[in-house]
Amino acid sequence: MFLITHKKKLTQSVSMFKVKAPFIVKHAKPGQFVMLRIEQNGERIPLTIAESNHEDETITLIVQSAGATTKRLLELNTGDSIQDLAGPLGKPSKVTGLKRVCVVGGGVGCAIAYPIAKALRQEHTIVHTIIGFRNKELVFLEDEFKAVSNHMYLVTDNGSAGRKGFVTDILKELLLKGETYDEVIAIGPLIMMKMVSEMTKPYHIKTIVSMNPIMVDGTGMCGGCRVSVDHEMKFACVDGPEFDGHLVDFDEAIQRNKMYQEFEHEQYNDACKQK
């Protein structure tokens, strides 16, 4: 069992958890994830490590209510335990040797983008961040991003916080203005990562995206997380989760995420009823 040592609500639907995990902390790096199972009958889901804290041997997870399991997880509090937690899995983000990087985060993807932005900053990289949310109530980590960015841009769909619009609107402006980057790192909904990748392609700016497909084990065993990258089959859990956004088949990935839509809907309703 893995003890939740601290829980903090970030928004209505997003919470931050610190979980005791000595075996994971040791080698965890930005961009890596854990597999988690809340309870005996629970499913195994991947969650990205937002931070690893060596002093108290905890990892930080930022969780948004997205399905039945995350909903159940959000109901847990400080002092509760998680049945199973394993990691760190996946390849770490490459954060060295870059001079200028634009980090783009969308929604809960910001939780994954933040440690990468922070790690880049520690490498003395010039970091521009663009973070986007649906509305003001959903904004989180704004101050944290500010602290690690040379420039930070906040957008919301309805303009209730920061500028009105999408992250791609800002990125477009920056690129048109002649900003140059060694790399753009985009983490968020598939459709956002697709749009960002399409936007940077004509500028030949290497664009890294973080895939979050359906997984069972997270160690390369199931192959459920396969993604087409440059027409080649890759497993997000062991070959990724980060890939070259210009080579990822996003339409296929979007379709693959719908595999269990019906079941997930039922499970989500069950999770709500149990409450």
Binding site: F23, I24, A86, V216, T219, G220, R256, Y260
Partner: protein
Amino acid sequence: MLNTSQVKNKMPVQDPIRRISNFNEVALGYTDEQALDEARRCLDCKHKPCVNGCPVGIDIPAFIQKIIDNQIEEAYQIILESSMLSSVCGRVCPQETQCELLCVRANKGEAVAIGNLERYVSDYHFKNIQFDSSKPILNGFKVAVVGSGPAGLSCANDLNKLGYQVDIYEALHEAGGVLTYGIPEFRLPKAIVKREIEQLIAHGVNLITNVIIGKSLSIDDLFDMGYQAIFLGTGAGLPKFLGVPGEMLNGVYSANEYLTRINLMKSYEKQSQTPIQHPKRVAVIGGGNVALDAARSAKRLGVEEVYIVYRRSLKELPARYEEVEHAVDEGIQFKLLANLKEIIGNSEGFVKEIRCVDMILGAPDQSGRAKPIENPQSSFFLEVDQVIMAIGTTPNPLVTQSTEDLETNEKGCIITQDAWGLTTKNMVYAGGDVVTGSATVILAMGAGRQAAQAMHQKITLEKIK
């Protein structure tokens, strides 16, 4: 008194009509009378040919004689000297190509049903005998075993008996490896696997789940933690795909994923939160035991039409004969001499049908089996809404990729320097599927035991130095 019957006592099984709607074990096990009757078929040969066919060298005639003497626990103890997983091996070992193949009775009639008797003995033990919680006197050394499948468990068992503090590291949340995530409940009840592991823990072996060696901890971390030697029994868990068009469609599973969702995650139970698709028609690609496990699981999930699509003929089918028989009884349809060419999807990206071609058998290939050759004019379509790829697995690279001086061959299998499992890295041993590529439970067990002996010798030698 010798039983001169030329045929085995038939293993009682659950009725096919009933069993396709449940996941309970198919084979029910011998009654006491059947076991005694079968045991009496054994000639108790002096030269014991059957023992040579057993990868772990169980003294088969000796345990069978104990059944005749109605000393069933003594029979169990004889098996235990060579195999700690008799309840598993009695169920899943391919006896027909091992011990039973060499049985003298097979020269005229059927071999003695050694596997069924082994199972009978182990079932008796588990039903009637309490846990043995005796712990060996520790010798002051500790070893790490990576992976809790058959290779790791056997290695751990032997090292524990020799007085080592043994810690087993398992990446998943449950131990057992392929016994837990791969082989279905109806062929190997999970309660049996659990019981074997609990017995090991009762003897003082530590089981640490949720730790992925190669990710959570490296091999060198383990040495830093004070382990004298390390055994790698990480198996062959990486699924292969064919590379045909349509493998990314929704409804295409690797057999590994399909079986893991069912066996490990229990997605067939109402309370399980792990989803699995419930299609009408499924094609399982491949002809090994894993393919049959997937097909028969699909049947039990209520799939109406289940096809096995296999490139060669029934004769070459690598699955055990018993499994094929059970599958046929359960209504699995065999599309033999057929090769998958393409998976076709509907507008929403879900599987709609597959296209195959007929095959003709040619001269034997490298594997010694007839080489299947395509008849390109023979395209045919099969309407299915799910495809399960059961065409083999390769070793998981997490450990080897993260350990510089651990060499692998072109197939990703760990290279061992001798028959005892020593790898290219000092004090690191390996055995089972990670060395051989996917093979059998019993071979993995044998490899685990041999490595345990080698590790013990090496550590003892170092001590003297």
